[in-house]
Chain length 196, copies 2
DNA sequence: GTCTATAATAGGATAGAC
DNA sequence: GTCTATCCTATTATAGAC
């Protein structure tokens, strides 16, 4: 197999995912239609179906793209010298979502996960990895100043992690639903809530 | 207008909403089709369209039904003698969702809100009311023992309410996405996090 | 590999009988 | 008010030319 051809195929595939992602941002995740992807990509139905067996496969790739970036954001913010505080980890994730303009799409993917095993598998995998990264930061953060928590750092982390993780869906849902939701105030309250 | 006829019409309308709700629980909120509502209700297309102008109107009514019940759950749990602690308020909401088996549907409604102004209006209205009920509990809870918080009760409540509210979407998303999500442990962690 | 054209179907909505 | 039958559009997916 010639390597250029493979690279070209991969690039074209990404191009299609890009286009589908733009459609999802505009019309919602489930609102993506093949017709809209054709329009947005400038390609044809035939071309798209030569890279993806069906629409579901394309949508899974879009979900993967969106979710993988969350893990990358967190990995990029990691500093081996000074661990991030809980509120900072969540703020990092939220910032990334806002930068990419997918803040409205991510809740749709999570919601879809409850009914679609394939989406659930992707979302669960990335969610788990993000959780592990958060755990690492939390433990290091407590160990940097053990007075922050009474008792064992890891035990504490395992208990509170699910509650802390809730702040991202919570932010996105309230942002979507409440016309007067104050994003900046939320981020400040996050720092406040989990500062010790 | 004869009152019996009106009552009958209202009852039939509820019947259709019930059927659509069962469809949503089974197939997801956006997965509800007129055909499935026909099957589930035992009625015909004509009957359904004589109560709802279109599918959108029916779906909005379903969302209203689901969301209204959240406010009712909270109002029912309210005790004028002993205010609920933050974690108890959230646990009340979560319990109600599990009881009605709509824990997977609610995130879809929120996610839809970002793209559909009508759904957003309904969700925002109820979300605001739930927030107000929570606020009342929180303020009373602090005033019952002012040492729980340093500073003004209302000021504190307004800052932390959005973070506390996050625990419900956070619970539902993690429950949907993580195969090993421990619901009971989450509820315990909630009590812990917001106990003072 | 990509395009155009089209097949196949699902799903929302309406018309007219009863 | 409700049912049956049907129309019509939107949408997924494929076939075959280039």
């Amino acid at each position: 197999m010639p390597k250029v051809s493979d690279a070209h195929r991969a690039a074209r595939r990404e191009e299609i995912i890009d286009a589908a992602l733009r459609c999802a941002v505009r019309d919602g995740y489930r609102g993506v239609s093949i017709a809209s992807v054709i329009q947005e990509s400038g390609l044809s139905a035939g071309a798209i179906y030569s890279y993806f067996a069906n629409k579901q496969e394309l949508l899974v790739a879009v979900a993967e793209r969106i979710l993988d970036a969350r893990e990358a954001d967190l990995a990029a913010a990691h500093d081996r010298d000074t661990p991030l505080a809980p509120g900072e980890v969540m703020a990092t994730l939220i910032e990334g979502l806002r930068r990419e303009d997918i803040a409205a799409v991510l809740p749709q993917i999570w919601a879809e996960a409850a009914f679609d095993p394939e989406i659930r598998a992707v979302a669960g995998r990335i969610f788990g990895r993000v959780r592990n990264l958060l755990r690492g930061e939390l433990v290091a953060w407590v160990q940097a100043d053990p007075s922050r928590v009474e008792g064992d750092a890891e035990e504490w982390a395992d208990l509170v992690i699910p509650v802390i993780m809730s702040s991202v869906p919570g932010f996105l849902v309230q942002r979507a639903v409440l016309p007067d939701f104050d994003e900046e105030s939320y981020l400040r309250a996050l720092q406040e809530t989990y500062r010790r």
